[in-house]
Amino acid sequence: MAALMIGGAGERLAAYGHLVRAQVRSQAQYRTSLVVDVVGSVAFGVLDVVTVIVFFRVTSDLAGFSFPEVFLMTTLTSCAFSLADLCVGNVERLRFFVRTGLFDAVLVRPLGTLVQLLAMDIAPRRVGRVVLGVALVVTAAVHAHVPASPAHIALLVVTPLAGAVIFSSIFVATSSVTFWWIESGEFGNALTYGGHDFASYPLNIYGAALRRIFAYGLGFAFVAYYPTLSLLGRTDPLGAPAFLGYASPLIALFTAGVAALFWRLGIRHYRSTGS
């Protein structure tokens, strides 16, 4: 993905900017539905964190972690996910583009395919949830007494961004499966929404098999768990080294590379539709 996103000068960025604005203008044509959508997306964001609050009404600790600690993981995950959903979530529309052959039109324009698709289909309604996500991360960090040192603040800012890239990579990689099997929606949702729930809680509540696949195989341990340990100065009950808390950006770059590879292979495999 990185390779697809870089590679153009400011002019190309400007072109994408125009595409995004055109999409926002298109959506503004249906004003009532926009308002309803914004409210709905914020409600979803609230539901995310309510689950954790409900948990801790019946217990005061979750596998050795207190409410403020888990709350920080949950809000970091939610913030990363909503950011990814805003920027890349509409990649699931690829299915529609491939099925109808509209993807042909994307391929004959002199811009990157992925970025074009995202810009043409961006959903401004999802901004509400991102704003909420940021506010909740700040609240959770204060509540968990994260030290206000430059290193901690930097980590707090970088973590949701790296997490967003990890989620985005999963979105892109699972969507490119469409190029092979046109109806492949549920498979993608299992990984993205499943990953979101997985990353919201401490790793040690899961069994070893699940941990291996989701935490390490797909990189979800780096969305919130390891960075939270570093933010709070805790050691990992599973014995992982402390530097992993700072490794998220690297992991994010790696997953983005893998996603880009999937995308490229997928485009080569694109079959288009009759006439």
Partner: protein
């Protein structure tokens, strides 16, 4: 200068075929099966063939949409898929069935957006747009959202959209499909004027052979993924020995049937007073036939029917499928 070059171009798809109640087999089917093509700059090429012959598949390989399964292809000196973005700047594409325009925005907004997408200089853009506005009469619906346009209006919009960046090659896939007569003529006249200027190379696929007759000097016919004819329309008539027909109205039926080499009776009507003859190639002229007829009967009326391209192409298609 050769602007489009293809050698042994192939595209295979795998198709799952039902072979039993539950059994399915995957078979490789070649939609395009080794096509050689060379198009010079400024040419207007008609690319025709029956449904499923591989027309659109070829076009998609030339425009960088589909990755070829084999062979070599160059358009404007680029390899279409690996150099898709460089190529996209130099070609324009109109897919009759797929819109390049922004559905919910006024038509004019799409043109403005495309200026940014293709990074066209504002002056060039304005000049090309005003030309299209004049020739295609866009002004009446420039502020209408694309979703509210009629098909004919939309197609005129699509043509404009494909030309605003001054492409070297314009690919038109069924540009007149579904249009009413007036829109069809407007679109044809416009494409014709483009070709006449000689700057733009045109590749046109169509089912409407009138498009070809009006616009293209060169005709490539494909069937089952292979080129079966490449040449002018006259070549095609000659090669398939197109038959002219002479219809004569007589005062009385002929007493003895006319026997002439190269002439055969296609049908008789009105009790033998109207006869339709077909003339085989150059063996005999219509003049000879008429002269012979007047020797034995009184002619009331004659009409000569030129071979139609539909007939030739229909014959071509059926001959091919019989020979397989």
């Amino acid at each position: 200068m050769t602007i489009i070059e293809a050698q042994g171009l192939r595209k295979e798809f795998s198709v799952r075929v039902k072979t039993g109640r539950l059994r399915r087999e995957t078979r490789r089917v070649a939609a395009v099966d080794g096509i050689d093509l060379a198009v010079e700059r400024g040419e207007m090429l008609g690319y025709i063939g029956p449904n499923g012959a591989g027309k659109s598949t070829t076009l998609k390989m030339l425009t960088g949409v589909l990755y070829p399964s084999g062979g070599r292809v160059r358009v404007c000196g680029f390899e279409p898929v690996p150099q898709r973005i460089e190529l996209a700047r130099r070609i324009g594409v109109v897919f009759g069935q797929r819109s390049q325009l922004w559905w919910d925005l006024p038509l004019g907004d799409s043109f403005e957006l495309l200026r940014h997408v293709y990074r066209v200089h504002a002056g060039d853009h304005a000049e090309r747009l005003s030309r299209c506005r004049r020739l295609l009469e866009l002004d009446a619906f420039l502020d209408t959202p694309v979703r509210q346009l009629s098909l004919g209006q939309r197609m005129r919009g699509e043509l404009t959209a494909a030309l605003l960046h001054g492409p070297e090659v314009l690919f038109l896939d069924e540009p007149t499909i579904g249009l009413d007569v007036v829109s069809k003529q407007a679109v044809r006249a416009f494409i014709g004027s483009l070709g006449a200027s000689g700057d733009t190379t045109l590749v046109l696929t169509t089912h409407d052979l009138a498009d070809i007759e009006r616009l293209c000097r060169r005709l490539v016919v494909i069937d089952h993924g292979r080129v079966v004819h490449d040449g002018s329309l006259e070549d095609l008539h000659q090669r398939y020995r197109s038959q002219r027909r002479v219809v004569v109205d007589l005062d009385e039926p002929l007493a003895t049937p006319l026997v002439l080499p190269g002439v055969s009776v296609e049908s008789t009507a009105a009790g033998g007073r109207r006869v339709t003859y077909t003339l085989d190639g150059d063996a005999i002229t219509a003049g000879d036939l008429v002269r012979r007829l007047t020797e034995g009967a009184r002619l009331r009326d004659i009409s000569i029917l030129e071979p139609s391209i539909e007939d030739v192409v229909a014959r071509l298609y059926t001959e091919r499928s019989v020979s397989r």
